[in-house]
Symmetry: C5
Subunit: 371 residues, 5 copies
């Protein structure tokens, strides 16, 4: 059945969209709870300067100790949040505040930016359209930006990052000339750009609905509108905090971001505003589609009921007259008249004609000729 | 009856949710009115430093005099607001402003934070899901934070605090290293974390409604949506002020909160925003469910009325024809024709077929094959 | 008739709720227009310090001249705004700015606070539930706070002020220790506290509606919801400006209010926010009750129309068959068959049974067993 | 016909309400386009100080040259915006910025305040109820306030200004003691006061609708609600900018307005807020009237359809039974029974009674006894 | 068919209205992607000072090198964004930041203003009504304002700019006296002025709907309302950012805009606010038209269903009576009565009359005499 599919599908998506992760009341702050379903952690370390670039896959946290002291730009990328001791070691090596790691593994968090001494924590969501083209999944990704290093924690591998890695490897663009802040920008920009195709999908779904809704409103249309509203709501929750996040990054009062890179973050900020712009437009469209649907149903009922009324109003009086002369009274003079039958037929014609004319005058027939 | 149960249940909940406590007009400020149903007050005093921790249950307010002078961190916890002389003694020992005690015993108050010289008053609500799984109850809890002491007033004992007490006893985490401000944070964080499971319940109730509403909308669904909207409204009233409350606590201009602890209150602030985020999403969902319900009912009526119209439109004209030839006129030539009867039957078939074809073309039958 | 009563009642309340007083265009600023229906003015002067308290009833404005110079706290209370020369004399004695008296007698004004050199003008509304328990009436009361005097103008006597007067007389609480600003606070607090029972009434009316609306929606319910929305709107107009008013009083930049009294005005501010909180909740409830009503009516119509359809769909085809064999054709072979009649009855039973089964499968009967 | 009247009336009002004046794209800034329908310009010059007051009607712009140099307060009032050379001469005499005159003659402009060096431009709308008591017309009036002169441009003569002129002539009030800023206040206050009676009209129209809507909703009610909403929207557009306008005038940072006059502008500001207050209330009322109307129509349909269902449900089964025994089968044993006819009548009575009892139990009859 | 036309038309407009241009995730910032459908770029260079004005059509970017050094005001206007090497050369000559050109060719962008060292980037949309008078198309135009030069990039030639060019050529107005900032103002003002006639179109479409909707609501009306809401939403997205854009230009903290020109930008700002004002009014009108439509449909259904009920209620009981005496029982005493037939007729008349009277009393006939 369609409907039970619907409910099952919902529950699965629900987990992704709406629930933020939270602590059990009374737990120690800084304690982390590893989700048993989380992927095992894998650490990749990329180090580069203008002249050289190194990459170590599946390395150990202790290999990162040098990152803090040498002159290279280091990017330590942890994929998968399932191996507690790796995460704890990374925490020690990079001297993270206890609350940072708690936020990183509590999936999903609300996107946020937090200033710690010497470090900047940025948490946001990457987005991916579902393979079956309906809805989307989000994954949390955390950035810890230090003086000349960047730490990233991903729930799962994000494919689009390979392009950035290639660019480092091949020394394309400015990435090797600039610092860890520019690298952070490149990664964030990639994540933001992924929102656009997801939004475009909703644009198309709304357009499809626009056609359906006037011609042939049905239960499915209703469900679809509701689902779109629900998913756009989830999307907004994911994007809305980014506005403040990037606004804060463009305020130029942070000593971890160089002046040259601010202009790039400003660009991210404008992209976020564009996304919100489109989102709000879709939300308003979806909400006025609901009005159109109700109105369209009302219109359909009008049609149906008008037909019922026309037919009933014409035939019920006629049926009465027929019934009248079907009575079996012994003394009914009309029955014996020569022209009784034809007179009655003529009377019926007159009534039917009069009624039809009245309905035509009121414009009720137009309803049926419209389509 | 379901409906009278409903109203009784409502009234009980109502008292918890919506009414703030207020003074009778013209009463002296600082005068307190003890609710006759309030539990008797019980004072527990916990004192600790890095090396030692003491606990005195059911102690007297005068035992707290030393709290203000010694170097230990003291937590005086009053459970139950029903014994006036204990409350008054505590007021004297800790030199509380007369308005403080008035706020503490006026249950419920709007959550708020107030600066008094040398003291910080924080009032908020603890939340607990009802045992029967529908709705929630709130209780007021007041914090008075001083230089090295914390005073808490609870309407009723809050179970989750025992974990904090254990942590003090067993010297787990940082609680024994840090001051009364960190203890206040631990307790507040526990209260905030309790909101999440209550919210999750609403998420599930909304999901249940989503399935019901399209398949089988009924009076009960309507009541349930209204109740959810009503309870979310009450919940918002309880949480909304917390946003400002914690925002003020993170502003770093208070000399009772040390720099090291600010970052923890910021964490509380983000949790509150998460809660509000979820709450607003649920409110929007509940409100669009109402649209879906109205639309769904309209759809159902469309179905019913279309069936009525189809059957009436086909049979009413036929019945008329049958009535016509049931008339008893003496001179009705058709009655005597050899094929009159079968001709009439054929005519009726023609009309019924034509009508059916018309309805099929208009797509009215699809409505009944949908499900 | 109920309906004409309704309109009369409305118009009377209307005058109280919605119309602000305004000048005729082009009149001199500072000119006052005495409402011919206003009560005659009566001046009561209360003077006190820590040791003594005097009260002069029905005194003359010129007796107040000493208020400005002596060391006593003076409260000049004018009840009734109908005697122009008394008002004018008071204006002269206390050297009021011409715009002040204009505001005081223009009833009703929007609540506001205005800084004049050496004087603070506060205008707000006292509220009183109507005796017949439905709705409320408001009266304007103006405060002019000076260095050590307080001037109040009341449209009509406010009963709850007698308790404050008693407290001065009996030297209860701090009123005799503190200045005119504390007296102003006491009076304002009394006025604010009066809003709570009025609000509670609306809470009860909304609860009553909640039960009615699902079980038995009617025209009266509709009128009641509309009236509640209308009155809450009026109430909000009266309370909303108080928020800013008290916020300004707590800003501590006014030299007429001593530091010690600020904390009390802050308390008033929080009460006002509580009232607005409740008000907004009621407004949202009333607005979603409207949705419930529309939905509930739609549900009722569904029930009715489903019954019509069931009965029509079963009997119309049967009636047609009966009509068919009531035709008077000479040659109708079935009429002569031995089992024609019983066969026809069996056919009818079959049709009726099939229809009933179809309706049962679609769940249409449940609608009638629900209640 | 009512409906065509409606549309004509609409279009006429439309021009007044909604269209702001605008330039053709690419025209020179500062170029003015005289509306061919504008009235011819007439310049009146009034000059006064504490001792003397002069008035020159129909004077020439060059007579105003002395205004800028002498010590008198001058008010140059231009009525009618149709004579370009007069306007241009005035522009030269008073050395207006080229954009000022463009704004003055582009009718209507959005109300605004603009600071030019040594001059303050204020543009707002005067309002006048239509003679036929429905709706209103607005006219633009521009103020240019200089050091000791005031320039006003009116589309048409505003009658209420004659009272101000009389006050100058007769030396009433403070107008002759204070400067051009006080004169500007007097004129602005007159314009603001004119909004109140227009608003009061809407209050009455809404009240009329409240009665109509529940008792007898009709197409006309619907049109009337829509018109009120439309006109209130237009009114709001005219008043909303005044809030900022007067707020800016009360900020005390303008060297053209003396300290003594600020308090008067503050009074204007409060009047504007009062007007907006009432306006928003009416808008909310009008919007909830729409809900009441829809609900009321739904209620009416419920009534109608319930009657249809009651009558159909009772008589359709009876008609079927009657039809049954009207069949002409040769072998129908019941027809020959002695009590067949009366038994059938009794059966019919039983069915009718049962149905009636069922409907009575469901409370469907109450609907018809309500009114 | 109308409906398929509708959907096709939609999709075409859609591309213009709603989709912002975006990068593929992971592309290098500063890389530009030339739309293969973009027009070939054509560079026109206009240079002028108070005495001379030169114009070079179809020139090469390298001819602009002197613009940066000579004392003339230069306007380099690029029409068409399709020739990458021309754009790249312009970028080099004017030393544009890599992000600028990316923004310029990514069409459409959200309108924005960005400060670069020594340059100011302004991106906005020009608007043009569609030739077939329904809807509009927008084109992106980018301004780069330097010390004494202005660079503009247009998607397609904007006709209204020729008037500005003429004004430069003929030395009309102040354009030759003032700098590049004034030229930028003239061009921006031209673009803003073009929004007014587009808005006016919507005003007329709404007015047309107002008449239609009450008299004759139909599916087309519904589509039209939805389309208007959708297009106004798109329009708002285009205009809304301009508010901030021009507000920033009037803040007087930019060293590229001279003091004399600020007042002109302020004028632009007010025009933008006027446009938004009108837009919001239309949006509210369109939204209340939806309410009117639903209400109007409900009214129409009321009419139809009332007629059905009247006719059914009168004739169904009569038909039953007729059926009763059409029964063929052998013993039916009434059939033999002398006045049986006429008595029955009289009874029928009585019932019909009673029913009619009842309906007339309830005012149900009025519904049909209304129109």
């Amino acid at each position: 059945m369609v409907s039970s599919d619907f409910s099952i599908e919902e529950q699965e998506e629900e987990e992704d969209y709406f629930d933020y992760s939270y602590d059990v009341a009374g737990t120690e702050p800084g304690s982390i709870i590893i989700d048993p379903l989380a992927l095992p952690s894998r650490l990749t370390l990329i180090e580069y300067d203008e002249n050289n670039a190194y990459r170590r896959v599946n390395t150990q946290p202790k290999d990162c100790v040098s990152c803090l002291t040498n002159n290279l730009i280091s990017w330590a990328n942890i994929e998968g949040l399932g191996t507690e001791n790796i995460l704890r070691e990374v925490e020690q090596v990079f001297q993270l505040h206890p609350l940072i790691l708690e936020d990183v593994v509590s999936v999903p968090q609300r996107p946020k930016i937090e200033d710690y001494p010497d470090q900047l924590l940025i948490i946001l969501h990457s987005i991916k359209p579902n393979k079956n083209e309906i809805g989307f999944t989000t994954e949390q990704i955390s950035f810890i930006l230090g003086k000349n290093y960047l730490l990233t924690f991903q729930e799962d591998e994000i494919e689009d990052f390979t392009r950035i890695i290639d660019r480092i490897r091949l020394n394309q663009g400015k990435v090797r000339q600039l610092g860890a802040d520019y690298l952070a920008y490149l990664l964030l920009d990639t994540l933001i750009d992924n929102y656009f195709p997801v939004l475009e999908d909703y644009g198309e779904r709304i357009e499809d609905l626009e056609d359906q809704i006037v011609l042939n409103p049905s239960k499915k249309t209703l469900q679809e509108i509701y689902n779109i509203r629900r998913e756009l709501l989830a999307l907004r929750r994911s994007i809305w905090p980014l506005r403040n996040l990037f606004n804060e990054l463009t305020r130029e009062d942070n000593n971890l971001i160089t002046k040259e890179v601010y202009v790039y973050f400003r660009d991210c900020y404008y992209h976020t505003i564009q996304i919100l712009d489109i989102l709000e437009t879709y939300r308003e469209l979806a909400s006025s589609l609901m009005d159109v649907l109700i109105s369209s149903m009302s219109n359909k009922m009008n049609e149906v009921i008008t037909l019922l009324t026309i037919i009933s109003s014409i035939f019920i009086p006629l049926t009465f007259i027929a019934g009248l002369y079907g009575m079996n009274f012994e003394y009914m003079p009309e029955l014996k008249w020569r022209w009784g039958y034809f007179g009655t037929l003529f009377l019926m014609l007159l009534i039917a004609g009069g009624m039809t004319f009245y309905f035509w005058r009121r414009g009720w027939f137009k309803l049926f000729l419209q389509k």
